[in-house]
C-alpha cells in the first residue's frame, strides 16, 4: 500500500536524485572528454580550445599510435604480464590458502601469524628492491610477476572462504582414497570457482595497472608495460612514442589527441571487463570486511 508522500519529502527526493546524477556526471565527464578528444581532428582542436564532442570524426590519433612499435610492444608486454601474473597469483594464493583452511594442519597458527604480520610491517621499498636485485630479477619480467605473487589480504579472504566449505565433502573423498592435493583439485577448487573468478579479476586489474614496480625494476624501455609508457607520453611528455617505424608521410595528429588516444587504449580493457568486475566486486569487498 503506497503511502502518500508529503510535499517536502518529494522535494527532498528530487534534490537528492539531482545531486546524485550530478555527481555521476562529474565522475564520467573526464572520461568522455578524453575519449571524445582522442577522435578529434587537428583543425578542431586548434580552433576550438575544448570540445566535449568533436563535429568531425578522425581516427588519425589511433592510426598513429598503432603504427608505432613502442605502443604495440607495451600493450603486448602488459597483456603477457596480466595473463601470466594472474595465473601465478591464483596458483600461489589458492595453493597456500587451502592447507591454512584445514583445521588438522599443523603449524597453521604460526604460518597465519607470519602472513598477518607481513601486512602490518614491511621491509620497505629499498630492502625489497635489494632482494629483487640480488635474485637477478631486475630488467626481467619476473620482477613484475613474482614479488607480488600473493596478496596477504586476498590469501586470508580465500582461506576464510575455503574454511566455510562443508567438511563432509572432504571426509568422504578421503574415505574414497583421495589425498589432500586431490581433494583440493577435485573438490575444493571446483566448488570455489565463483570466488576465485572474483579474485582473478582483481589480480588482473592490478597487473594491467602495474606501474610503480615497473618503474622500480625495469630500466629497459623495450620491456615497459603500458602504464609506464603512458606516464612518459602524457605526464613527462617525452614523446617516447615516435620512433622510426611511425608513418612519416602523413601529417602528424595533434599532440593532445595522441595523448588522449593513449589514455583510452590503456583504459579500455578495464572498461571492457568492468561489467564483470561490477558483478563480482561488491562480493569481494564484503568478503573483505569479514575479519581475517
Amino acid at each position: 500500500m503506497p503511502i502518500k508522500q508529503s510535499w517536502g519529502s518529494r522535494l527532498f527526493d528530487g534534490v537528492n536524485a539531482a545531486m546524485l546524477f550530478a555527481f555521476a556526471l562529474i565522475t564520467v565527464i573526464p572520461f568522455i572528454y578524453v575519449i571524445a578528444g582522442s577522435f578529434a581532428t587537428q583543425k578542431e582542436l586548434l580552433t576550438r580550445g575544448f570540445i566535449l564532442f568533436p563535429t568531425e570524426f578522425s581516427l588519425d590519433a589511433y592510426k598513429y599510435i598503432f603504427s608505432t612499435q613502442t605502443l604495440v610492444r607495451s600493450l603486448l608486454v602488459t597483456v603477457f604480464i596480466t595473463v601470466a601474473g594472474t595465473l601465478i597469483n591464483l596458483f600461489f594464493t589458492c595453493l597456500m590458502a587451502y592447507p591454512l583452511a584445514r583445521r588438522d594442519m599443523d603449524f597453521r597458527k604460526p604460518i597465519l601469524m607470519l602472513v598477518v604480520f607481513s601486512m602490518l610491517f614491511s621491509g620497505g621499498m629499498i630492502p625489497t628492491f635489494l632482494v629483487v636485485k640480488q635474485l637477478g630479477m631486475i630488467d626481467t619480467y619476473w620482477s613484475l610477476l613474482i614479488p607480488g605473487a600473493i596478496s596477504a589480504f586476498n590469501l586470508i579472504i580465500i582461506r576464510n572462504f575455503f574454511q566455510q566449505l562443508p567438511d563432509g565433502l572432504e571426509e568422504s573423498a578421503k574415505i574414497d582414497g583421495c589425498n589432500d592435493l586431490g581433494i583440493f583439485l577435485r573438490i575444493v577448487l571446483p566448488l570455489s570457482m565463483p570466488a576465485i573468478a572474483t579474485f582473478a579479476l582483481f589480480y588482473a586489474v592490478g597487473h594491467w595497472n602495474t606501474f610503480f614496480n615497473a618503474v622500480l625494476y625495469i630500466n629497459d624501455n623495450t620491456k615497459w608495460p603500458i602504464q609506464v609508457l603512458l606516464r612518459q607520453i602524457v605526464i613527462l611528455a617525452l614523446g617516447g612514442i615516435g620512433d622510426s617505424t611511425a608513418m612519416e608521410s602523413e601529417v602528424p595528429p595533434p599532440d593532445q589527441a595522441v595523448k588522449m588516444a593513449v589514455i583510452v587504449v590503456s583504459t579500455l580493457p578495464i572498461l571492457l571487463v568492468y561489467p564483470f568486475l561490477q558483478k563480482h566486486f561488491a562480493k569481494g569487498v564484503l568478503l573483505g570486511s569479514v575479519k581475517g
Binding site: 508529503s6 527532498f12 527526493d13 537528492n16 545531486m19 546524485l20 546524477f21 555527481f23 555521476a24 565522475t27 564520467v28 573526464p30 572528454y33 578528444g37 582542436l45 575544448f50 600461489f92 594464493t93 595453493l95 597456500m96 587451502y98 594442519m105 599443523d106 604460518i111 607470519l114 607481513s118 602490518l120 610491517f121 614491511s122 621491509g123 620497505g124 621499498m125 629499498i126 630492502p127 628492491f129 635474485l135 613474482i146 605473487a149 600473493i150 590469501l155 589425498n179 589432500d180 594491467w208 595497472n209 606501474f211 610503480f212 622500480l216 602504464q227 603512458l230 606516464r231 602524457v234 605526464i235 593532445q256 589514455i263 590503456s266 568486475l277 561488491a282 569487498v285 575479519k291 581475517g292
Partner: protein, 299 residues
C-alpha cells in the same frame, strides 16, 4: 607418533611450501635487510662486510631540515584526506540509500565505481589533460571567461588541492560500498515504525540510518588513522615535479629519490624504517582504540 602425523599431512605441507617460501623471501628477507639502515651499505662489499655505523643515518635524518618538511607535507596531505575525502563516501552512501528508484540507484552506482579501477597513471594523465596550460579544459574555460591561465601542475599552492580532489574523484564512489552494505542490513520495519510515530525523513535519517553505520564509520576512521602516514604513493609520485616538490615530497617519495635515484641505500632504508615503525605503532594504537569502542578490531 609425530612422524606419522607429519607423513599424514605431507600433501598439505607440500601445498603450503611455495607460499611460505614466497613470504620468507619477499616479505621476511627484506625485513632482515632492514639492518642495512645501521650499516654503510656498499653494494660491492655486500651485506655482511659493509661497516656497522649504528644510528648514524637516523641522526642524519632527525637533524636534516628536510625531515620537518617531509613530516609537514605528509601530515597536511593526510589531514586533508580525512577532512575532505573521508566524509564524502558516507554522504553519498546516505544519499544513495534515500534514492528509492532502483534503476536510478543502479545507474549512479555503476558510473561512480568506475574510476576506482583506473590506474593512478590514467587518473593523473586525465588530470594533466584537464589542467595543462597548453589547451587544458580548465585553462581554456578560464580564458574564455576572461580570466588568466593558472599553472596548476607546477605550483606549490595548487598541489594539495589537486591531490585531494583526485582522490575524491577516484575513490568516493567505491568508498560508498561498505556503508551501503551496512545500510542494507537495516530492518525496514524500523522505518515503518518511525513513520507511524510521525518521524519525518530527516529524523528517520538521524535516528535509524546513521546509528546503523555508526560503527562502520568509527572503524574506518580508526583504520585510516592507523595508516595516517600512507599518503597515496603512486599518485604523489606521479604528480610531483621540480616546481611542487617543496609541498609534495612525502616520506615514500623521498625514500625513492634518495634510495633508488641517488643510491643511498642505507640512509633511505633508515627513512623507510622510521616510517614503518611509526606506521606499525599507529596501527596497533588504532586497533586498541577500535576495541575500546567495542568494535572487533582489525586483527
Amino acid at each position: 607418533m609425530l612422524i606419522a602425523r607429519l607423513m599424514r599431512n605431507r600433501w598439505l605441507y607440500l601445498m603450503v611450501l611455495p607460499g611460505l617460501l614466497y613470504f620468507l623471501i619477499f616479505k621476511y628477507w627484506p625485513m632482515y635487510g632492514i639492518f642495512i639502515a645501521f650499516k654503510d651499505y656498499q653494494p660491492y662489499l655486500g651485506f655482511w662486510d659493509s661497516p656497522f655505523v649504528g644510528f648514524k643515518h637516523f641522526d642524519r635524518l632527525f637533524s636534516d631540515p628536510n625531515f620537518i618538511v617531509l613530516f609537514r607535507n605528509t601530515f597536511i596531505l593526510a589531514l586533508y584526506n580525512i577532512l575532505f575525502f573521508f566524509p564524502l563516501p558516507i554522504l553519498v552512501a546516505l544519499m544513495l540509500n534515500e534514492l528509492r528508484h532502483e534503476l536510478s540507484k543502479r545507474i549512479v552506482q555503476t558510473l561512480v565505481y568506475i574510476p576506482h579501477f583506473m590506474s593512478w597513471v590514467v587518473v593523473v594523465g586525465i588530470a594533466y589533460m584537464f589542467l595543462t596550460t597548453e589547451g587544458g579544459f580548465i585553462n581554456v574555460l578560464l580564458e574564455k571567461l576572461g580570466g588568466e591561465k593558472v599553472t596548476f601542475l607546477v605550483s606549490n599552492e595548487w598541489f594539495r588541492t589537486i591531490i585531494t580532489t583526485e582522490v575524491m574523484w577516484k575513490e568516493t564512489g567505491w568508498g560508498t560500498i561498505i556503508f551501503l552494505a551496512a545500510l542494507s542490513g537495516v530492518d525496514p520495519q524500523l522505518y515503518e515504525a518511525a513513520r507511524m510515530d510521525g518521524a519525518n525523513r530527516l529524523r528517520q535519517l538521524w535516528h535509524i540510518t546513521l546509528p546503523a553505520i555508526r560503527s562502520t564509520i568509527i572503524i574506518l576512521l580508526i583504520l585510516r588513522l592507523g595508516h595516517f602516514l600512507d599518503t597515496g604513493f603512486e599518485q604523489i609520485f606521479l604528480m610531483l615535479n621540480a616546481m611542487n616538490r617543496e609541498v609534495g615530497e612525502v616520506f615514500d617519495t623521498y625514500v625513492y629519490a634518495v634510495g633508488i635515484s641517488q643510491g643511498q641505500y642505507s640512509f633511505s632504508t633508515a627513512v623507510g624504517l622510521f616510517k614503518s615503525i611509526v606506521g606499525l605503532i599507529l596501527v596497533v594504537l588504532a586497533n586498541r582504540l577500535a576495541k575500546k569502542f567495542g568494535e572487533e578490531g582489525i586483527y
